[in-house]
Each structure stands twice: as C-alpha cells, then as structure tokens.
Amino acid sequence: MSSIQRNTYGAPRNLRAVNFICDAPAAQSVTLVGDFNQWNPHSHPLLLQPGGGWLIRLELKHGHHRYAFLVDGALTLDPRAMGITRNDEGQRVSLVPVS
C-alpha cells in the first residue's frame, strides 16, 4: 500500500511500503542501512521470521535508494536487489527503485 504526502510546494510525494528480506538464518542480528536512514546501523533492525529470513517493512519515497544489510555487522549486498552501485564510502551497495 502507498500513502501520499505533500511537500512544501504542494507537489505529491509518494510513499510506498517496501519489504526488505535478508536470508541469513545463522545471523544474530540484521539491520538495514541506506540513504533513507543516513546509514545508521541501529535505526532499522530486521525481525527474524520463521524459516530463518529477516524482514523489515519500510515506507520510502519515490526515487532510487541505496541500501545494504548489516549481517552481524558486516555490510552485505541484497541478492534480490534491482541494481548495484556504491555508497559515499565507495562500498558496493544495493539499489531499490520506488515508483
């Protein structure tokens, strides 16, 4: 589902819920980092699901977002990602489009 907000200039700013799933059954912790949380390693922990997958559902605005998982602290690409790029530190990270 998506919701719509308005920015200062009145143009629509779409928010869309995106599921991030990380398959890491042996991990002790998985968090999501990206442009949308200033790569904060603590702000978006994923929850362990039955079967060993980790999940977080996040509302993101329209556009392309860089992100990665921190699996027990190690930066990890999302194998399901639509694209690959680098973050400001030059590390390879994943890309998600939100339309």
Binding site: Y9, P12, D35, H62, M82, G83, I84, T85, P97
Partner: protein, 318 residues
C-alpha cells in the same frame, strides 16, 4: 496507438522524477533511439517503443526532444516500402528528430546520435540510449519499457556517471556464453584488474542499454570511439577514471527472434572484442618501455583464449 502505463517516466512530474536523494539542479534527459537496421515483419515492437517515446516527447520539463538515429542503408533499402515510410514519417518523425547517418555498425549509430544530443545538451544533462531492435511488444517487453527510465533517473538522482541496464538471460543464452567465454576471458587477459572491477557491477559488459552524464559522455566522445563493442570500452574508461557506475536490472527482453545466435556471429563478436581490447591496450601502453614484448606475450595468451572460446561456442551453439 498503445499507451504506456502510468508508471512510465513520461507521466511523472519533474519534482517526482527528481527522486529520493537528489542533491543538484537537474538538466534534461536526452532519449536516443537506435532504429533497427533490418525492418521487422510486423511493427508491434516498434509501435510499443514509440508509444513510450511519444510520452517522453510530450514531457519537455524532463526530456529533451528525442533523437532517432537511422542508418542510411536502412532508409534506402526501404524507401519504396510504404509501411516503413509511413512508420518513419507518421510515428518516428512525429515524436523524435531523425538523424540519418551512414554507419559501420550499431556503436557508430550511438556515436552519431549521442554526439548530436551532446551538442544540444548542457552540463547537468543525461543521455539515455534505447536500442530499437528488442521485442518490446511482448508481455515481458512491456515490463522492460516501463523500467528503462530508471537508467537516466539513477544517473540524475544518485549522481552516477554511467548506469548500465542489464537484461536477464539464462546461462545457455548466446549473449551470456559470448560474454562468459569471450568478453570476460579476453578482458582478464588484457585488463585483468579493470575486468574484476567491471564484473563487480555487471555480467553484461556489452549491454546496449545505458545512460551517461554529460561530462563523462563528452570525455568519451572525444576519445577514440569504436564501431563495435563500445560499451566495454566505456566501462573500461569508467574504471580507469574512477567514475561512478551503477547497474540496474531492466528485465527479460531479447533481440534474437529465434532465441539463438549463429556460431559465425558469435565468433565475429569475440574477434571484434579482442581487436578493440588490443587497440585500447596499445593506446595505453605504447609509451612505456618494453611494451612490444609485453604486447606479444598478451597477444599469444589472447589467441589461446579466442581459440578456446571458438571451440566452446561451436560446441554449444552449433
């Protein structure tokens, strides 16, 4: 006329298209369409493609006037074909400027059209190559058309110098086989470090889907431009010069009507790649001491790789 889904870029407002992490003032995106060399039996794929182009042409806040480059040989061969001329005059010309050019091969069509677009563009602009000879009329092709706009948008929003579009192909697809046993094998001989860098982004170093920023395109236009395999050269220069590279998955689409490619065509593609890599290597090393001996050693290894690639491709594609 088929209309695109509302998710297509041309339907978006300028503010929406600027996306998640925009940091700079944006210029225009220049769509550059590479018209197919051979005319199809039916125009469904091209009609779908030009429905998208018409949408882009109608959104001049985001897009510059699209450019379609057409080989003069195509035009001359089809000049008496009413269907072709109707399509050229009534569809292609309505939503894009047609650049007629004599071209050795596809990459020269890119050169002519990207050069023309670059002359029209400005410092913040992005250039978006859209190959015309894919099966956009299929259900999967529709999905691809709805995703292609991501390539220039990634360049704009994430300030990337080049964004490569990657199409899906199974492991036995001829393109995949050529890249695995030919392109990458040869790259690992001539430019091993850069090859590793390229493979961190893409398995399709010869992709015909890409977008580039004005500055990087200007640098590339002023270097030697190859009539073949220019994407490999572009990626190598992007790695040499530490440019910002992204890769984006555009979906399942094919330019092979029968799903196969001839052994002769596959061999020609491997030979062309080798020729380009040799030329580029010489350009970068011919000023250094002992380069001729090093070149001969690499050339011998390259020949072994090429012969092995021929054997494998012959076994798998015959």
């Amino acid at each position: 006329m088929h209309r695109m889904k509302s998710t297509v870029a041309g339907k978006r407002t300028a503010s929406q298209s600027r996306g998640a992490s925009a940091k700079t003032t944006h210029g225009l995106t220049h769509p550059v369409i590479i018209y197919p060399f051979r005319q199809p039996d039916n125009y469904e794929d091209l009609q779908q493609l030009y429905a998208l182009i018409e949408t882009l042409a109608g959104n001049n806040e985001i897009y510059a006037r699209p450019i379609t480059v057409m080989d003069r040989k195509t035009h001359q061969a089809c000049a008496r074909d009413k269907r072709f001329m109707d399509f050229r005059n009534n569809t292609v010309a309505r939503c894009s400027d047609i650049l007629d050019a004599w071209c050795v091969d596809t990459c020269q069509m890119w050169y002519s059209a990207l050069g023309m677009a670059h002359e029209r563009g400005g410092a913040n602009d992005v250039y978006w190559v859209i190959p015309g000879d894919f099966n956009y009329g299929s259900a999967l092709g529709h999905e691809v058309l709805s995703r292609l706009h991501d390539l220039p948008e990634i360049c704009v929003e994430l300030e990337q110098d080049v964004c490569i579009g990657e199409i899906a192909a199974d492991l036995n697809n001829p393109k995949h086989l050529i890249d695995t046993y030919g392109t990458f094998a040869l790259l690992y001989i001539w430019f091993p470090q850069e090859a590793r860098g390229i493979r961190e982004y893409t398995e399709r170093p010869r992709s015909e889907f890409f977008a580039m920023r004005h500055g990087f395109l200007g640098e590339m236009l002023n270097r030697r431009w190859f009539a073949y395999e220019q994407t490999v050269v572009t990626l190598l220069h992007a790695i040499f010069d530490k440019k910002h590279i992204s890769r984006f998955f555009v979906g399942h689409v094919s330019d092979l009507p029968e799903g196969r490619e001839s052994v002769a065509s596959a061999m020609a593609q491997v030979e062309r790649t080798e020729r380009v890599l040799k030329t580029l290597w010489r350009e970068r090393h011919q000023g250094t001491a002992g380069w001729i001996e090093q070149y001969r050693a690499l050339d011998a290894q390259s020949e072994q790789v090429r012969r092995t690639a021929f054997t494998i491709l012959q076994n798998l594609l015959s």
